[in-house]
Symmetry: C2
DNA sequence: TCCAAGTATCTTGATGTCGAGATATCTCCA
DNA sequence: TGGAGATATCTCGACATCAAGATACTTGGA
């Protein structure tokens, strides 16, 4: 079975036979899949009336467990965005009533963002829809292959997870 | 070796023990890696004075081979962006002198975007820098594992490459 | 030949993100 | 204890993207 990246790699090999193109086979696929995944996520979420960026924040809070509170700083590290972006996201989620901002009792510079009951309901529904869409996405691989893939990706991710 | 997604998966398992979380192990890693890869790409390119979006367009033209021409429509399918985005990108690349717009002799609605010699030099330099950065990224995997990974990703991508 | 439907590209307005800088508070050591 | 440097969050302007719609041209069938 060929995919679009096979074509792309061949084209590069034809044009730049002097280069070692091994990384292309992995990373072009990685970024293209990620793009497709984003679209699928967006789709899965619209039925639940939330946006991908909203899910990212709500999910981080939901995973944290009771009382569903994290600081903006923690949230931006979890979701890999900048502080300006997170301020903006929390503003908009607050306006929608899905989270609320509380002063951090332990640090007067700080703030805690807490999931509201509405936010919790929204994220729980959306997460189930996301899992269903992702399962569909994965259907070409059997269980053993899925594990193998997860394990290979983990190896690539480990260097970024240290400290 | 644990990565950040191991933590994330455990947190979900604790909070939602009712759900089958298998897809998370693959797709959370996929999107996080893609995010890291984007940052690494941006870094590799800045030394060459171009942006990631510029590279995407220039690379598609470069791969096409002499005379390095593609239509905007073809470019947007290659780079997975919308037509409005591509118009804007070609405008800016034209202003920088890296591409030029020509009327399509075969279709008066159409346009051809052609790489200039400056554009070709820019994309060739940037591509080598990108490959170097990506090789670094891949260094945790031996050759056999790289092939395995590419092959598993291909399987996921095939359904999108048909037609 | 004519026209309706299809196709290619561009325009426009809304939006989300980033990066740099501002402010307030905390930490820790001389 | 005083203060320098670190940290947490927010502000603001620039910018790239998207979605929807406009325009111009092409195609195929009546």
């Amino acid at each position: 079975m060929r995919d679009e990246v096979d074509d792309l790699s061949e084209a590069w090999a034809r044009e730049r036979p002097d280069l070692d193109l091994a990384p292309v086979a992995v990373f072009s696929r990685l970024s293209r899949l990620s793009r497709r995944l984003d679209l699928a996520r967006r789709n899965a979420f619209t039925a639940h009336g939330i946006e991908s960026w909203e899910f990212d924040v709500l999910a981080a809070l939901r995973r944290a467990g009771e009382p569903y509170e994290l600081s903006p700083g923690r949230l931006l590290r979890e979701t890999l965005v900048t502080s300006g972006t997170m301020t903006n996201r929390v503003d908009r989620l607050t306006a929608r009533g899905l989270v609320e901002r509380l002063p951090d009792p332990a640090d007067r510079r700080g703030v805690l963002v807490r999931l509201t009951p509405e936010g919790k309901a929204a994220v729980d529904g959306a997460f189930e829809a996301l899992l269903a869409a992702e399962r569909e996405f994965l259907s070409g691989l059997d269980e053993r292959q899925q594990d193998q893939l997860a394990s290979l990706l983990r190896t690539l991710l480990v260097p970024f997870s240290e400290r």
